[in-house]
Amino acid sequence: MLIADYFRHAAPRRSPVIWVAAAAAICVCVLPAAYRAHDDYLRVVGEEETRLSRAADRMVGLMADAGGAPVEAFNKYAPLIVQQREGASMGLGTWDGDMVARQPEPEAFVGKSLREDRAYLAHRANDGAPTSGLRERTLAGAPRLIVTRSFPDRDQPTHVLFVTRDLSDVLAAWRRRVWLDAAQFLVVAGAVLTFAGMAARREEGLRRSAASAAEREALYHTLFQGNRAVKLLIDPADGALVDVNAAACAFYGYSRDKLLTMRIADINILNQEEIAAEMAAAAAEKRTHFFFRHRLASGEIRDVEIHSGPVQYMGRSLLYSIIHDVTDRRRLEAERARLFTAIEQSQASVVITDTQGTIQYVNPAFTRISGYSAEEIVGENPRVLKSGHTSEEEYRAMWRTLASGEPYSAVFLNKKKDGSQYWEHAQLSPVRDATGAVVSYVAVKENITELKKAEQDLLEANHQLAEQAAKLQTVNAELEQFAYVASHDLRQPLRSISSFLQLIDRKLNDADPETREFIGYAVSGARRMDRLIVGLLDYSRIGRKSGPLAPTSLDEVARISLQTCGPAIEEAGGTAEIVGALPVVIGDAGELQRLLDNMIGNAVKYRAPDRPLRIEIGGATAADRVTFWVADNGVGVAPKDHERIFQMFQRLSAGGDGDGIGLAICKKIVERLGGAIRVESALGRGCRFIIDLPTGGPALVGDGALTNIKG
């Protein structure tokens, strides 16, 4: 294994010295062993050969001494010798090559030809000299040693004597010895090689460790200093920065020298507990990286992702940290999360399709509106929503527009899952990838069913309003005519009644006073009737005779009004005064004057008999309205009547010369200007009529067109 390891890891440039030494050691071991084995072989075979040769020579001697027929002599002595030489056998052949005797087992061999036998051939080739040889392969399959002799001698041979022995046992014993030797050798050689391998390795290790600290420094510099990634080596004991690379200096904005004086806590804005919590979270999520926030020299905080692990460096265990600035990625992720939330929460339905029109995404609003869940609709074509209202031509135009990369917007009548229909305003936009190719379409659709309905309702309402307005125009015209007729035709007979009653009165100069008193009542009734008609006409004419509303100086109007009413005030023995500056109001000068005339007239009319009349007109401007008032010290109005006095024909005192129209006209004038009139008063304490008007005039200047009669 070690050897295999060695060769597997062998590098060509390793030193051969050790291996030369190892080879030499092995040779030193192998050669004597081989020599010894060979020597042993020769010895054992040689011993056998010596024994067989001695037996053969003795047999030749015995046969020569016996004389007579060699075969008989052989048969006489051979069994004895074969018996002495265990495992040996003897054979006798004629010089010509016929086996004539064999001991033992003569019957198996005698009569066989020897002419093909290698031992016989070798003997004849040797000119009858004695031979010996080892035949590894024989008929019996065993290695045999064969020794031959000529008989009676090599000069006049008649027969060839063979002495053989099976050497299987001898050679087996020899082989065993050789194998034992070989096994011993292998053990020794293995030990030598192991030692050599270890020595080689050690030598290699030494060589490597010696291989240039400068080269290693360069490598380190490349891997650490030269890397674009921000890298820190941190002492885990106190967080001190042991080494930082150029990218770190650039990222943090500190010089290398400065950074090397800092600790990681100076950079990480989290405290110890928070850091520990993040590390625990990373462990729980099986993350090998942490998310922290680091402060740069500029004070800027960046989100960083840190890959960190322990390294051994210069004999110290340090934390090797690679810092990635993920601020932008975080921001994008947050942005993406925000956008996704916006889409998910949107009231408008959002549908995203691929360029084939196959739906890839729908938001919850889509499900809410259409009734199709995301699972049902994703993978479908939006045509399932078609109600048939939109023409195919329009759909084609839509796809054409989108395919050309232009947005398209239209209103569709679509069909829900339950078959009911809804109106949608869809804004469809192509989405392009970085290369500008259209990759999908986004549809943002607003359910405008309610809007459509409201639009329809509005149209109907407008139509009705127009009809109403037209009717109102007619009614107004009729009313105008009516008012005119009233002013003319009602007053004509009234005037006749009044005039002729007066004429009768004059003719009745001498009649009894009671008759004349009755006529007086009739005349004053007719006069009152005429005043009422005139008042009604005035009331109905407010806002019709006057011109457009314009900023009007109330001060000016009040002065004219006081001039107009001056005689009446003087006659009543009263005084009137404008207190302070009066505001400018939006209105019609003529109507405003009538308003003031009416109120001044009221003040004169309802003055207190026991004190001189005093009238004051004042005003003020607030942020959103102007206020003015007319105050007097007259009889006043009881609080219960504060509302009633502004109603038509509501007179408080029977038999007074009021006709119950003046304040109703005032109220109408003020309300036409978008304002309000009210009275502050108590019975016997005078009253103050307060008018509030909006600064900008009535909210709807054209209001008069519909609410007032217009000629």
Binding site: Y484, S487, H488, D489, R491, Q492, L494, R495, S496, S498, S499, F500, Q502, L503, A526, R527, D530, K545, G711
Partner: protein, 146 residues
């Protein structure tokens, strides 16, 4: 004072007999000697003016014209009389029940020389008519007296 002269002629154009009577009384009360002719509506009045023109008579010196009359209103009469050749239209004072502004302005626009809303009080009427006579009789007579 004007006795040496031909009496002043005033034509009252009014469909209301009571009003005609009152105006007649008012004219008489003022103390001027004058002949009063009457017409019940604009058409009658126009016909009378035509007759005068045919007969080469000078016709009325002053017309007191009501506006709201059957057949032909006062305003229509004014317009037609002014346009008709040969017809001589004397000064016209409109005397109407209406004091509506549109009637007043329309009357002046049609050529009226004065406008008197009919007062409800008889004394007011008498005073108003006397003022008219004071003005117009004085004006009209002056060249003849010189």
């Amino acid at each position: 004072m004007a006795s040496a002269m031909a009496p002043f002629e005033v034509m009252i154009v009014d469909d209301e007999p009571a009003d005609v009577l009152l105006l007649r009384m008012a004219l008489g009360q003022a103390g001027y000697a004058c002949n009063v002719t009457t017409a019940g509506n604009g058409a009658e009045a126009l016909e009378k003016l035509r007759e005068c023109a045919k007969a080469h008579r000078p016709g009325p010196d002053l017309i007191l014209l009501d506006l709201n009359m059957p057949q032909m209103s006062g305003q229509e009469f004014l317009l037609k009389a002014r346009q008709e050749p040969g017809v001589r239209l004397p000064p016209v004072v409109v005397v109407s029940t209406s004091d509506a502004e549109r009637d007043v302005s329309a009357a002046y626009a049609s050529g009226a020389s004065g406008y008197l809303p009919k007062p409800v009080d008889i004394d007011d009427l008498f005073v108003a008519v006397k003022r008219i006579e004071d003005y117009w009789f004085g004006t009209m007579r002056r060249p003849a007296q010189l």
